[in-house]
């Protein structure tokens, strides 16, 4: 089923946090690497949430959305947010080479975010290989995939072999089923996909290498992971490395982002406590009159600036 048939994914809170972090990172990258001339390539679906951000935050005009579903293509064309978005129908593997052929597009950096809702599979691995070997210099590449454990084998014992079959030699020989449980798989996949991208870039001998920039596992009932990096031109490599090495860089996290769905009233109440002098606790939430899991409290505190507020409008 196509994602637009299952959920309006602009209202998944952890997804919003992840998107907020990515665009903040992209904005900072565009300060050091001159990305206003970039082309944005992605899967806009019928919502174009990331395309709107690319236009508003990064000042990008030329954008291409790839849509594989026939009805989805019609709806995307109808819904596209700006005149300068072009929607192409087909699978990424078939359409990416065509996009590179568009006049001038191979000489401008790409910000390409392949935001799949499916799990990693052979086709996605090939898309990742194509992107890191063909994206023009100074491009930023991002990939989002499902990290639902069952998509990698119904039994835990099968998962390391499945991941090895997909990502090959970069998978350590001692990858265990404990690394592939519901809780651990998002972190494991994120690390291995980064290693895979780095190795592919090294093999392709890109002069500026691969600068690891994004590692964001997140969970809104389904576990997802976003990984990505910068493919700088040789001359821009030092600046790109310095950017992500800076302590203020937020693009990579070590724990799964799990923003709780909350009511406007809860959010307003908690926000009035922040920024807090000491860490917020569950006890404090209870004092305020409601309750949350400890990890939800931590997540809220860490990511509240990126949290969206949702309300139903009765028109």
């Amino acid at each position: 089923m196509a994602s637009f048939d299952s959920i309006n994914y602009s209202i998944r809170p952890s997804k919003s946090v992840q998107r907020g972090i990515v665009f903040e990172g992209l904005r900072r990258a565009s300060n050091v690497m001159e990305l206003s001339n970039a082309i944005y390539v992605g899967f806009g679906s019928i919502w174009f949430t990331d395309f709107v951000q690319a236009h508003k935050v990064l000042n990008i005009d030329d954008m291409v959305s790839i849509e594989a579903n026939e009805i989805g293509f019609r709806r995307a064309t109808f819904n596209k947010a700006y005149r300068t978005i072009s929607v192409v129908e087909g699978r990424a593997s078939a359409k990416l080479p065509d996009i590179l052929e568009i006049e001038g597009y191979n000489a401008r950096p790409w910000i390409i975010w392949l935001d799949y809702d499916s799990a990693l599979d052979e086709e996605v691995v090939e898309d990742m290989q194509w992107v890191v070997s063909n994206a023009p210099p100074n491009s930023v590449v991002l990939f989002t995939l499902s990290a639902t454990q069952n998509a990698y084998g119904a039994k835990p014992i099968q998962r390391p072999d499945r991941i090895r079959a997909l990502l090959g030699d970069i998978v350590p020989d001692d990858l265990s089923r404990e690394d592939c449980t519901k809780e651990t798989l998002p972190i494991t996949l994120a690390r291995l996909m980064i290693d895979f991208l780095k190795s592919e870039v090294a093999d392709a001998a890109r002069p500026g290498g691969f600068v690891e920039a994004f590692k964001l596992p997140y969970l809104d009932s389904v576990a997802m992971v976003t990984v990505g990096g910068i493919l700088p031109a040789r001359g821009a490599a030092a600046a790109a490395r310095a950017l992500v090495a800076d302590a203020s860089w937020k693009g990579a996290v070590e724990e799964v982002i799990e923003a709780p769905p909350m009511t406007l009233r809860e959010i307003a109440t908690l926000q009035s406590e922040l920024p807090a002098v000491a860490a917020l606790t569950r006890a404090r939430i209870q004092e305020l009159g409601f309750d949350l899991h400890e990890r939800q409290v931590q997540s809220f505190q860490r990511y509240y600036k990126y949290l969206p507020s949702f309300a139903e409008i009765i028109a």
Binding site: A154, K155, S199
Partner: protein, 454 residues
């Protein structure tokens, strides 16, 4: 009349040519192994220096070789005795082995090129430090090499300077290389390169690691590959030992061969077939080091006179031939130590023995096709045994199978999109199920539904 000053054509090599040439035809991985080999030769010398046969019980556990790789820096250190100042001044930095150099006992280094070639391949800012025992005390020196300055200093003087240095913690060698070459930098950025480096170390130094040697990469010791052959039921591997005389020196030879894994029931190559994971084929070991692994080419005889080309049907066969000698130059080593010298007399002499045992296996995989299920059962009885525990036996023993009439068979071949295959495999309970098994299960499923009892 030729003027006196023109009576000789200058044939001296330039340094730049030399550096380019010696680093050209060797991989980065093999360069790192050359450095490991030097450390191991030191350890082996300290441990007594004798043939590294499978029965050997030498304890290498006091010795440790550590490799640290960063995106812009390479470092290898060991506690294997170090290079003495005399050796450094006269031999260790000479390009090529001098005739006057002593033969190291049962070493793996032959050509006197390994260390120089390795560091030149890695980068241009090099420091080699050594601490060694001088009588009862420790003494040390360092040899800094800045390749650009050395090249620029002209082709007359090829020497490197030896300087004073502080002692390392234990007698040993410490080599560090900065200003990496582009090729080294690219490889060191790749997690895949580092993981594969570990895997190859685990395999090629399996015999040393089995004797307790510690090789660390990025601070984590590599566990050696346990080489096993199957034994039991009607299966017994071959293990035969020989001693040959060559130029007045003894060369010890040992051959092991047999089944390492049951052969496949379907020998059609599929996309699932992963050559890298496949351990089948011939292995050649020289003075303890695997120089050729899982070979399926004419180097070990496949496809040469009286010997068929390798075919996936032969998967499951493993043959190992081990050569040891006090003089490494008598062994069939190439300079990269990543292949065998096919012209070597001692190697050619044993090719016929390798052929005989290979042919036994080929014939077994041909006959077993007639009784696949029964053969699979017989193969399951044979259990994996580490090669060190295999008893001596002149020939490999495999089941004798008499041919019998069989039901004619049909092959079914069809193509489906991969995601659909994986979905069905998942529904059958195993997302990793081989394509062939998904096909068979689907056939059985349909057969039971539509045909029922035969």
């Amino acid at each position: 009349m030729i003027p006196g000053d023109k009576s000789k054509a200058d044939a001296n090599p330039t340094k730049a040519f030399f550096v380019r040439m010696i680093t050209r035809d060797i991989t980065l991985e093999d360069c790192i192994f050359d450095l490991i080999d030097n450390s191991i030769d030191g350890a082996w010398e300290l441990a007594g220096g004798h043939p590294l046969s499978l029965d050997d019980k030498t304890d290498l556990s006091p010795f440790r070789i550590s490799i640290h790789i960063k995106e812009d820096h390479f470092e290898i250190s060991d506690n294997c005795g170090g290079i003495t100042l005399d050796d450094a001044a006269d031999y260790a930095f000479t390009f090529g082995r001098k005739e006057t150099a002593e033969t190291e006992n049962f070493s793996i280094g032959v050509y006197g090129i390994g260390m120089k070639r390795a560091v030149f391949k890695l980068g241009s800012e090099i420091e080699i430090r050594s601490t060694y025992k001088d009588g009862d005390a420790l003494a040390s020196f360092r040899v800094p090499i800045n390749v650009e300055n050395w090249l620029a200093s002209g082709d007359e003087n090829w020497d490197f300077d030896i300087e004073e240095a502080n002692n390392l913690e234990q007698p040993g060698v410490h080599i560090s290389v900065a200003h990496l070459t582009d090729a080294a930098k690219r490889s060191f950025e790749s997690p895949r390169f580092i993981r594969n480096l570990r895997r190859t170390i685990a395999r090629d130094y399996a015999l040393h690691l089995h004797r307790g040697l510690v090789i660390e990469v990025q601070g984590k010791p590599v566990s050696g590959w346990i080489i096993e052959l199957r034994q039991g039921g009607e299966f017994s591997p071959m293990r035969a030992q020989f001693v040959e005389e060559l130029e007045g020196e003894q060369v010890f030879v040992e051959i092991l061969a047999g089944m390492t894994a049951p052969p496949p029931n379907d020998s059609e190559p599929s996309e699932d077939f992963d050559e890298g994971q496949n351990n089948s084929g011939w292995y050649v070991i020289c003075n303890g080091r695997i120089v050729l692994a899982a070979d399926k080419t004419s180097l070990t005889g496949w496809g040469t006179e009286g010997w068929p080309q390798w075919h996936p049907q032969y998967t499951g066969f493993m043959g190992i031939i081990i050569f040891s000698s006090r003089r490494a130059d008598l062994l069939p080593l190439t300079t990269t130590k990543r292949s065998v010298d096919e012209t070597s007399a001692i190697y050619r002499q044993f090719r016929s023995k390798m052929r005989e045992t290979t042919k036994e296996w080929i014939s077994y995989t041909n006959t077993r096709k007639q009784i696949r299920d029964e053969a699979t059962q017989r193969e399951e009885v044979a259990k994996a045994v580490p090669i060190f525990q295999i008893a001596l036996r002149q020939e490999v023993e495999l089941p004798r199978i008499a041919s019998k009439p069989k039901v004619p068979e049909a092959n079914i071949l069809y193509t489906v999109p991969k995601p659909r295959l994986r979905s069905l495999a998942s529904a059958f309970g195993n997302i990793n199920m081989a394509y062939k098994d998904v096909g068979l299960r689907s056939f059985e499923y349909a057969f039971e539904d539509l045909v029922g009892d035969e």
